[in-house]
């Protein structure tokens, strides 16, 4: 049934899972702080990969293209926070969540159609010179190890940032208790923008990391969003650490499902798996009620 040796599949799954965790961590932070479930988050991934791919086609050097892609994602993310989402910040409770979801959904559709129709062939693949590495009798692709390493480093950096730095503590305090944090003198407006920028950086790096092991096409944005959202649901929204664990779980399960029953059916099976998980543990693996 399985053509590939299981440990390799597990590594594949972990790499995919870490990539999804990067996207989902941004989503979680934005939801926790701004109360917006950003459906257009997957499009941020695509914006940066498309920008990089187009620049590469025009012959620009790799670092410059990657930086430009990162810049594009950050710019879009800030634009989203400052301009597009402005109407919702005056609202409260469910109305706000709903409208935020809707506006970002509409923006996602807009970006998706615009990107797919303008750059239908802007696929990003970052190929590395050395294809494989042998270790303990197993052959690994360097790209996989590298991308897994980069993703893990980014997540550790995010973790340290949230735990140690002043801004990270401010973000966590705002997520836990907005009024209390306001009384302590933490500016919601400033950190909201910061969270969106961090989300943009994380999404864009997720796109590049995915580009190391696979091809990222302009039409995959919604799929990234949905997978990341499912990671959020499983991890418990508002919990960044839960998101990381959930990302790895979902990545591994998804990869095994793809190897066993094929890509198309794997999506359905994953959904059923998550439905069962939600039935058993409605608040996510270690998340809180939301």
């Amino acid at each position: 049934m399985l053509d590939i040796f299981p440990p390799l599949l597990i590594i594949d799954g972990i790499v995919l899972g870490l990539t999804l965790s990067l996207i989902a961590a941004g989503l979680t932070m934005i939801y926790g702080l701004a109360g917006v479930l950003n459906i257009s988050h997957g499009e941020l991934v695509i914006i940066s990969t498309v920008t990089a791919a187009v620049l590469l086609q025009f012959g620009s050097p790799l670092p410059l293209a990657l930086l430009a892609g990162l810049g594009a994602a950050v710019a879009l993310s800030s634009f989203l926070e400052r301009v597009v989402l402005r109407p919702i910040y005056g609202l409260e409770g469910e109305e706000r969540v709903l409208l935020g979801l809707y506006i970002t959904l509409a923006l996602a559709i807009f970006l998706h159609s615009a990107l797919v129709s303008t750059f239908p062939l802007a696929y990003l693949t970052l190929s590395l010179p050395i294809p494989t590495v042998s270790f303990l009798g197993l052959t690994f692709r360097t790209a996989q190890l590298l991308s897994g390493g980069i993703a893990a480093t980014t997540l550790v950096a995010l973790f340290l940032f949230l735990k140690r730095s002043w801004s990270g503590m401010a973000i966590r305090s705002l997520t836990q208790n907005e009024v209390g944090a306001l009384i302590c003198g933490v500016s919601v407006k400033r950190y909201r923008l910061l969270v969106f920028i961090i989300g943009g950086v994380l999404a864009s790096s997720a796109g590049y990391i995915r580009g190391l092991v696979a091809t990222v096409g302009p039409e995959t944005g919604l799929e990234f969003t949905i997978l990341a959202l499912l990671v959020c649901v499983v991890g418990g929204v508002r919990s960044v650490y839960g998101t990381i664990i959930a990302g790895i779980v979902i990545g591994v399960v998804y990869t095994f499902l793809i190897a066993m029953i094929g890509t198309y059916l794997a999506n359905v099976a994953l959904l059923v798996f998550i439905m069962l998980l939600v039935l058993i543990k409605p608040y996510g693996i270690i998340g809180e009620r939301w």
Binding site: P87, I109, E223, V233, L265, L271, L279, P282
Partner: protein, 324 residues
Amino acid sequence: MTAQIRITRRNQLIAFITLCTVYIFLPLLFINTPYVVFIMTQMLFFTIFAYSFNFLFGFTRQLFLCIGAFAGIGAYITGILLRESIVGVVESVILSTLTVGFIGWFVSYLSVRRRLVVIFTGIFTLAITLAFNNLVIGLVDITGGETGFRVRLVSLGLLDSLPLYVRFYYLAAATLLTTAFISFYLLSYTKIGYAFRCIIDDEVSSGLIGIDVAKIKMITAVLASGLLGYAGALYGLFSQLITPSYYGFLSLDIPVQLIVILGGRATLLGPFIGSAIISILNEALKFLGPLTQVLYGLILVLLLAFFRNGIVDFVKRRIVPWFF
């Protein structure tokens, strides 16, 4: 106060009868131009889908982002059963209705009983849309993959003497007007309607005065999903071709959401007005090709930001007071 309500109800009844008359006689004007009737039939189907979405989202705040997937499941079940000649038309349409109703109930059960908030339903149903698309494209042997498959023309009994599109026009119109009438009756004269109106205003307080919010939500989900399955099956029979692109998120969900938001959430007249406007707009913008979807996304953002309550509410608040 009661007098005022009665007057509005009478007005609503008059509006409903006018609507019936218009919908019955309109295609007779265009009986020699099948294309116009085709567009009008399509509009009717979209109005039915919008009615479902309006009940799910407008009245009970269950954000089902899988209208296309539900309609598609209905269409595929009916289409496949008919292609393989397993059962007759009526049985397969009933089976579609029941299956989709059951799926809707399950999703609603998960989100309502588990007390998960509105976005949970949104995420979940979005994932259902993705799963449906993958399933349809993946199971090429059964569903025909990207290209889909053709459905033979079915007999509609008494309507068979009419031209092709007019038959389905009347079938869809009958469904839509029945749905509208039943909803009107339920909302105006029954306890369920009372509960609906309470839930629109405030969910928590309606729970406090003894309305079983969870039950109402689940009943709505079953009925609205069943309607989606039924209308989806009919839509498949009408277009005689079932492909994933007809039931995709961009081609079905987005227009339906536009119709509901433009017409007015939680109103009975809203979907009629919204769908008429969107159909005309769609025809007028045909030359744009794939750019239409870009435009739809933009319109949706603008509508949500600045015109959230829709046309019906706008007329009620801004225009009617001029006359009284």
